[in-house]
C-alpha cells in the first residue's frame, strides 16, 4: 500500500508540476499561450453552481455518487496509510527473529519431500505477533488424491517449521493439478 500511496503522490506532484509550467506559460504569454484564452469563466461558473447546489442540498444523483466515491476512496487510503506496515522478519519470541526467506526455504524443503509434489512455491508473511502466515502452492499430477496430499503436505510443513521453532498462525496449502511436462520435476 505504501507503494500505491507513493505512486498517487508522484502522479499528484507531476500533475501539479505540469499545471505550474502551464500557468507560467499562460501568464507570460509565450508560444501563443494567452491567459485570456483560458475558459476560466465557464469553469468558475460551473464550480460556483456545484458548490451552491451542495449548500442548498439540490444535488443530482450522479453528483452524490461522485462525492460518496471520493469520500470512500479518501477513507480507504487513510486507513491503509495509518495501518502499520508488516514486519520484515518473522518474530519467533522476544528478541529472536528469522528472515522470511529462511522460513520459505524450510517450507519448500518440507513440501518437496512429498513424492506427489512436482514443484512448489511458498509465500511467507511476517506478523506483528510472533509467527507467520504461510501460503503454499504445490503442483501435483492430474488424478492425484487432493485431500490426502493436502493434509500430508500441511503436516510436513507444520512439523518442519515447529522443529525449527517458527510459530505458524495460518497455514494454507493450495494444490494445483499440472502437466508434469511443464513442471520442474517430472518423476519422483
Amino acid at each position: 500500500m505504501r507503494i500505491f500511496n507513493r505512486i498517487v503522490i508522484i502522479l499528484l506532484l507531476a500533475g501539479l508540476f505540469v499545471l505550474g509550467v502551464l500557468a507560467v506559460l499562460y501568464s507570460v504569454g509565450v508560444a501563443g499561450y494567452r491567459l485570456a484564452e483560458l475558459p476560466l469563466d465557464t469553469f468558475s461558473q460551473n464550480l460556483i453552481r456545484a458548490v451552491r447546489n451542495i449548500e442548498t442540498g439540490n444535488l443530482h444523483v450522479l453528483d452524490v455518487g461522485g462525492l460518496v466515491i471520493i469520500a470512500l476512496l479518501g477513507l480507504v487510503l487513510l486507513v491503509f496509510e495509518l495501518k502499520p506496515p508488516a514486519p520484515r522478519r518473522v518474530r519467533m519470541q522476544q528478541g529472536t527473529y528469522i528472515t522470511r526467506r529462511a522460513v520459505e526455504n524450510e517450507a519448500i524443503e518440507a513440501v518437496e519431500q512429498s513424492p506427489e509434489v512436482l514443484q512448489s512455491s511458498v509465500n511467507v508473511k511476517a506478523q506483528r505477533k510472533p509467527g507467520a502466515k504461510v501460503n503454499v502452492k504445490a503442483s501435483i499430477r492430474p488424478g492425484e488424491d487432493v485431500g490426502s496430499t493436502r493434509s500430508r503436505v500441511q503436516d510436513r510443513v507444520q512439523r518442519r517449521l515447529s522443529q525449527v521453532g517458527v510459530p505458524i498462525s495460518n497455514l494454507k496449502v493450495r494444490l494445483v493439478e499440472s502437466d508434469p511436462r511443464e513442471t520442474r520435476t517430472r518423476v519422483r
Binding site: 519470541q93 526467506r101 525449527v164 521453532g165
Partner: protein, 101 residues
C-alpha cells in the same frame, strides 16, 4: 568502556564458538555490520540501544532456534554492557553429521 568495534568483535567470536551456529549472516537489504576506522565486523550490529547478531544456523538443528537464541544471549550478555541482544536467523545451512559439533 569498550568501543563498538571491539564489542562487535568480541560478540562475533563468542557467537561463532557456540555449537549450532554455522556462520554469521551479512544482512539482506542492508549490510549487517559494525564499522570502524578501516575495518568492519560483519554479522554483528552494535548501536546504543541494542546489539543485533545475524546468524546462519546449521541444519539438522542441535536444538530449536529459540533455545539457541537464548544460549547466544547468555553467552554474550557479559560483553554487551547491559544492552539487549536481538538474534536474527538469516538462513539454515545443511551440514554433514559431525561437522556441527
Amino acid at each position: 568502556m569498550v568501543d563498538d568495534l571491539q564489542l562487535a568483535r568480541s560478540v562475533s567470536e563468542a557467537v561463532l564458538a557456540i555449537g549450532g551456529v554455522h556462520s554469521l549472516g551479512t544482512g539482506r537489504y542492508a549490510e549487517a555490520a559494525t564499522y570502524g576506522a578501516g575495518e568492519k565486523v560483519s554479522g554483528v550490529v552494535v548501536n546504543p540501544r541494542e546489539v543485533r547478531v545475524h546468524i546462519v544456523v546449521s541444519y539438522p538443528l542441535v536444538e530449536p532456534i529459540p533455545a539457541l537464541a537464548e544460549r547466544i544471549r547468555q553467552q554474550v550478555a557479559s560483553r554487551t554492557e547491559g544492552r539487549p541482544t536481538t538474534v536474527v536467523v538469516e538462513d539454515l545451512v545443511e551440514v554433514e553429521q559431525g561437522e556441527n559439533l
